[in-house]
Subunit: 205 residues, 2 copies
């Protein structure tokens, strides 16, 4: 492998630097890439909102991708559990993959509880200011527990799931996220509209 | 987080399944996505070839991305060393990230020694037959050692790098790669042309 700085010529080979960069991919895509990082309690609506947002953006010819439990926990992070250390490594890897997708020109959305401030900060600090849009899906624990689409809160209350966020493990609310969406007070359409308004205002889309 | 199968409605929330899939992204991109997996000795020209290929493909409006040591070893895999176990985990993660990029509609190229058959098989088996194009960058150890753009062979010979592929750790040649490119007998332009011919023949691009 040649690094970016290698420029070596011999009889048969010229070493090439990369010639295609994020800006070139954005130009091809005709839009900027970005990371929209949804955080919040289980059942706060992160994945729902990410997929509903993706639907709208795709219809506007934006090149989108959603990282969520469905494509991360069974794949890249299948070796990780739910201890604090594993949660940290999980979020670190998601941050790194988001960065790669960002560089690939993709408008990436992530939908993970990501309960710890320091882990979200690690993901944020991987990229340039403005590329990371943290959106807090704010819903009361009561609401989330009432929804409980997978029965996880029930299991957690029964002590069957250790270190469950909101029950036996803390959720650290973002102090200054780019956006707060009260997902227990608005329907999905309204939530999506709020995100799109923000992205348009900031000229991200 | 809601899984693909959750469809729950309450007063304020409708749970959405994903509505944008790989085929939709490929339709937007106007090309298929694929994984081109370059394997071969250090200095066999994998990264060079990947970047030269990317240059050509990008000019054809193909949405490309290269995974190589420069963006993986300092990021996603910075916790890994070069033991057999760490090499295996390194390749596993690269395979998983390639799969995510594939799903995101990206034409992804990887440039890693990936010396072990079983690890390359793990990466191959993550995706559907036809999505994984293994290209063996074949160059003699003698040639690679003579090139030695980073002085790694020299260090390995001096015993300063343990488990260096070709010197103190084996390189297992692919038995039935999609393509073999003799990178010590052709210049970069010829190598790229060989890859492009293959991709066109197979109607991948």
């Amino acid at each position: 492998m040649s690094s970016n700085n290698d420029k070596i010529t011999n009889k048969h080979t010229v070493w090439h630097d990369p010639t295609v960069f994020r800006a070139d991919r954005e130009a091809l895509n005709k839009h900027k890439s970005a990371i929209v990082w949804f955080t919040g309690l289980s059942a706060a609506g992160k994945s729902t909102l990410a997929h509903a947002l993706e639907d709208k953006l795709h219809k506007r010819s934006i090149h989108t991708f959603v990282l969520d439990g469905d494509n991360i926990r069974q794949g890249l992070c299948k070796d990780l559990g739910f201890s604090d250390a594993d949660r940290e490594e999980n979020i670190r890897r998601i941050g790194e993959v988001s960065k790669l997708l960002l560089d690939a020109g993709v408008f990436v959305m992530t939908a993970f509880i990501s309960p710890f401030k320091k882990d979200r900060k690690i993901a944020r600090d991987l990229v340039t200011h403005g590329d990371f849009i943290e959106i807090y899906c704010k819903a009361s624990l009561e609401t989330c527990e009432k929804r409980d689409p997978k029965g996880l809160y029930k299991k957690a209350r029964a002590g069957e799931i250790p270190e469950f966020t909101g029950i036996s493990s803390p959720y650290e609310e973002p102090e200054s996220p780019e956006l707060v969406i009260e997902t227990d007070k608005k329907d999905v359409e309204q939530c999506v509209a709020q995100v799109i308004n923000y992205l348009e205002e900031k000229k991200i889309i």
